[in-house]
């Protein structure tokens, strides 16, 4: 499962407080909160405070029981039997407290599979064939195909059955998103018109009452303004600090910064149907032409790693033996010449028809548009050094999707893959995915890669799986359908009044129950 992200891209004693509240800032303002109908990152973080899943993914890729008391996987890897916890209750709703039961699981799955539901990436749930309630606290999941790791399909958040009675479709308009009910450590107390969301600790939480009684999410219009709010003690926590502002936060003794990895990487995609870009050596030469190390330093203060292939380096699938392409202009020029291209006297690279080589670079602009533009401008300057004129074309997200995913009307583009299963690259490079709206928008086709992807997907032998994916990494590095850029570290910043802070890359507030907040009265 994966989703495209738009950009390349979280003991002073002189305080004034009315209550022991943790205030954190976001630069977007969720209009509704539920785990499924929104792709807004700030809404997803709040979801972690409100909802629970049956099992939770740990940082070592194992699964920990959450709403499930226990589970058993069938030998064929197609069924999972789950015993549900019995003492769990939903947040109070209209004065009533409802128990969590198998009905809620069945209702959630029904919503996730319903054609009437408007859920982005809904196809990720299609592997679930059915779920049956064996009793009030026992459910049996059946999958459409065998899996060595079926739990990875069952880590979704559970919704309350009693809130979804009737035929109203589950979408962003559903009233649930304005007044969500979960089983999680916090419940929504106030959803203000200005976008501020106040949550209070769930005193019935089945994992124990959180230490911090109140958490307030405050939306800001701008990253820089929000960072100033942190620095001047108006906020306690930022879930994300922009690379540009990180130095100032790090330079202040009142704050701690917590880096966290994400299963994501950025890349430049080449349309392999383009005459020059269809040539492997041409693509390799482009990889030698772009000084990724310098860009990583200039734009992200080296807070990340260059990558050599199509997996995040934190993934088991990443092949450490494959090294990233070195920045080497002479080697790039040699490689261009090796495929019959030449240089004019003025240093322009000429194609086989002796015409100057020009490429276009389609750049999606949304969210942190500043950074995508900066990267585009830098790459334009690097390619100029090897005699290539790069025309930058900034487009909105809708246009980008239409031209890249639907029509393949582009030559080079930039994007980022964000994974929850880093080894699942089948849709990115398998030739069957060369279709409108398919993820293989670079139109890369290689029978050997197709075979390896299929073998890797179906084998239940993990050692064999590693060998296959390392080989895939190696092939796709040489083939270079992408110019692999980097994977970045994100940074949360928090006031030293907060302690016990641990941040999970998949679920920011996963460990919030253990967080502590110490605030003292003001000293004038």
């Amino acid at each position: 499962m994966k989703k495209l992200i738009l950009t390349l891209l979280i003991g002073l004693s002189f305080r004034v407080y009315g209550e022991n509240s943790l205030n954190y800032g976001e630069t977007s303002r969720p209009e509704h909160i539920d785990p499924y109908t929104t792709q807004d990152a700030s809404a997803h973080r709040i979801v972690d405070l409100i909802f629970d899943s049956l099992v939770e993914l740990e940082q070592d890729y194992s699964y920990k029981r959450s709403l499930a008391e226990s589970y058993a996987i069938s030998k064929d890897g197609k069924q999972v039997l789950m015993e549900l916890r019995k003492q769990v209750t939903w947040h109070p709703f209209k004065g009533s407290v409802h128990p969590f039961t198998a009905k809620d699981v069945l209702s959630t799955v029904k919503l996730l599979l319903s054609k009437n539901s408007e859920i982005p990436n809904q196809s990720r749930f299609e592997i679930i064939e059915s779920v049956r309630a064996l009793d009030n606290h026992k459910v049996l999941f059946s999958l459409k195909r065998a899996s060595t790791d079926p739990l990875k399909y069952l880590g979704f958040k559970i919704l309350p059955d009693f809130r979804f009675k009737g035929r109203k479709p589950f979408n962003r308009e559903h009233d649930f998103g304005k007044d969500p009910t979960g089983t999680g450590p916090y419940l929504v107390r106030q959803f203000s018109s200005s976008g501020e969301i106040k949550l209070v600790a769930n005193t019935r939480y089945f994992k124990g009452v959180p230490n911090i009684p109140v958490i307030t999410m405050k939306p800001f219009s701008d990253q820089n303004i929000m960072t100033q709010a942190l620095l001047f003690q108006s906020l306690d926590l930022l879930t994300y600090v922009s690379p540009k502002r990180l130095d100032e936060v790090l330079a202040d003794q009142s704050f701690e910064v917590s880096p966290y990895d994400s299963l994501s990487y950025s890349f430049i995609g080449f349309n392999t149907k383009h005459d020059l870009l269809s040539r492997k050596l041409f693509r390799q030469a482009l990889s030698h032409s772009i000084h990724r190390r310098e860009m990583l330093k200039a734009f992200f203060d080296n807070r990340g790693d260059l990558i050599s292939g199509p997996f995040p380096p934190t993934s088991w699938a990443y092949n450490l033996d494959v090294k990233p392409y070195e920045y080497d202009i002479e080697r790039a020029k040699e490689t261009f010449r090796s495929i019959g291209l030449n240089y004019s006297q003025s240093g322009q690279l000429l194609n086989w028809k002796k015409q100057p080589v020009e490429l276009s670079f389609l750049i999606p602009i949304a969210g942190e548009k500043e950074m995508n533009k900066r990267i585009g401008v830098a790459i334009q300057a690097y390619l100029k050094k090897v005699g290539i004129k790069l025309n930058l074309e900034f487009v909105d997200w809708y246009t980008w999707k239409q031209r890249v995913l639907a029509e393949k009307d582009y030559e080079m583009t930039i994007a980022m893959w964000n994974f929850d299963d880093a080894a699942n690259i089948e849709s990115l490079f398998h030739s069957s995915e060369i279709k409108p709206w398919g993820n293989n928008f670079v139109q890369y086709s290689n029978p050997e890669v197709d075979t390896l992807l299929a073998e890797g997907s179906f084998t239940n032998d993990f050692d064999k799986k590693i060998v296959i994916y390392h080989k895939l990494h190696s092939i796709l590095a040489v083939e270079s359908p992408y110019l692999y850029l980097w994977t970045l570290k994100h940074h949360a910043a928090f006031n030293q009044n907060l302690s016990g802070i641990k941040v999970d890359p998949f679920s920011f507030f996963k460990y919030v129950k253990q967080w502590n907040l110490r605030k003292s009265d003001k000293v004038m």
Partner: protein
């Protein structure tokens, strides 16, 4: 963004003034062959050092001997990059001294953020970076490597161009305000364990206003030599980006939280010298940000967040004790969808009649525009630089800004015809603004 009115391309009309032999010019500029070169007459429109720094200044003087022609429109005379060939690093946050001779900017070097001062009239430069001394407990604690890099930023000059202030963490993680002068060592003022920042000199007195977290959430404080600092504001949220009014008896600043920042004004009673309660500059639900007062003190330029979540640029006359209403805000817009430049805000020309700003058109790489308040016209400053920001103009008409060169932000300087020597101290200071929306 679609242009709804005529946009003037500054560089095109001035192409006759560009000379290819200047090494600092970008290669994309075309040279001219039909310029009549005459003996340079010094000091007509520019001081000598400007003519030395920008060779085309002399050509401009020769070409536009008629002052009326020289001052008409907005002319880009020459563009150059301040530093070239140095080890790559980012340059940012520019600040001109009041006389236009000294330029300060920040550079990240050796893992420190330093401030470089350059006197463009002579070969003088100075680096500002506060680092712990050997006597500091920080080193005596036995740590071999400092945890905190020296971070120095937000340089602002005094009215006499001799002194400056900036914020620094002292290399020890504690941000305080430091003041200094070209000839003396920097010292911290009103030190406190809480964060201090955004220090700004009064235009008339040796007073510095700054934001401090010492009382909780970022209030304004006033520092005067030999006097304990005064707390000026008691607002419930951070008070940021203070700017002095021209008479030195008022401060305009941003206050607020969430997406509700507002511009507020503090005034000092002329007789008692006491500061009154702040009042709203504009009473509106729209978020407002980063006010900059015009050099003549008559106007305030600021950003406001529109209904479509885009920042728009507004200018309103500054009148003491006047609070504008939402309808005034709507009428005062001069540019839509602009880049929110928080470091210095927009750049006023010395005659207070034009404003330089950066557009936020997503299809372009942050181009610089100017708006002529009297004529109601917009101009594109065709610098051919990308990702422009941190615009600020000296009284001599040099627009400096940061732009991306390769992967790095570097300082660029654009000599224009907007210096006071050319435009003069405006005789028609009572002009009114022509709005276009």
């Amino acid at each position: 963004m679609m242009l709804t009115f005529k946009c003037h391309r500054i560089a095109l009309s001035l192409s006759l003034l560009f000379l290819a032999s200047c090494q600092q010019l970008r290669s994309s500029y075309t040279s001219i062959k039909n310029v009549v070169w005459t003996q340079r007459e010094e000091g007509i429109y520019f001081p000598d050092f400007i003519s030395d720094l920008f060779p085309y200044a002399s050509h401009f003087q020769n070409h536009f001997k008629n002052p009326d022609k020289a001052r008409s429109g907005i002319k880009l005379i020459q563009l150059k990059q301040l530093t070239k060939g140095l080890k790559p690093s980012h340059e940012a946050s520019l600040s001109w001294s009041k006389n236009g001779f000294l330029l300060g900017y920040e550079v990240v070097k050796n893992q420190q953020r330093k401030i470089l001062l350059r006197d463009l009239s002579r070969s003088y430069s100075k680096t500002l970076a506060i680092v712990p001394t050997s006597e500091d407990t920080f080193y005596s604690s036995g740590r071999s490597k400092p945890r905190y890099r020296s971070y120095n930023a937000f340089l602002r000059w005094s009215y006499d161009s001799k002194h400056y202030s900036f914020m620094s963490n002292g290399g020890q993680g504690n941000f305080n305000i430091y003041v200094g002068s070209i000839d003396s060592k920097e010292k911290s003022i009103a030190p406190n364990p809480a964060k201090d920042g955004f220090a700004t000199w009064s235009p008339r007195h040796h007073e510095v206003v700054f934001t401090s977290a010492r009382t909780g959430k970022g209030d304004l404080y006033l520092f005067r030599e030999g006097v304990r600092e005064d707390r000026l504001t008691f607002t419930p949220s951070p008070d940021l980006y203070p700017e002095w009014t021209k008479d030195g008896d008022g401060i305009i600043f941003v206050s607020g939280d969430l997406q509700k920042h507002k511009i507020m004004v503090l005034l000092r009673d002329q007789r008692s010298r006491m500061w009154r309660k702040p009042y709203l500059f504009v009473s509106s639900h729209a978020e407002q940000m980063r006010p900059v007062i015009s050099p003549n003190g008559r106007f305030v330029a600021f950003y406001s967040l529109g209904a479509n979540r885009e920042w728009n640029l507004h200018v309103l006359p500054f009148k003491k004790n006047k609070t504008y209403l939402d309808r005034d805000l709507k009428k005062s817009m001069i540019a839509r969808n602009v880049f929110l430049d928080l470091n210095s805000g927009v750049a006023w020309t010395p005659d207070s009649k034009k404003i330089f700003y950066v557009e936020n058109n997503f299809t372009k790489a942050n181009r610089i525009f100017a708006y002529h308040l009297v004529k109601g016209k917009r101009y594109l400053l065709n610098t051919k630089t990308a990702m422009n920001h941190d615009l600020i103009m000296s009284r001599l008409g040099v627009l400096s800004f940061c732009a991306q060169s390769g992967s790095w932000d570097r300082v660029f300087m654009a000599l224009t015809n907007q210096g006071l020597k050319i435009q003069g101290n405006s005789k028609s200071n009572n002009f009114s603004i022509k709005y276009i929306y």
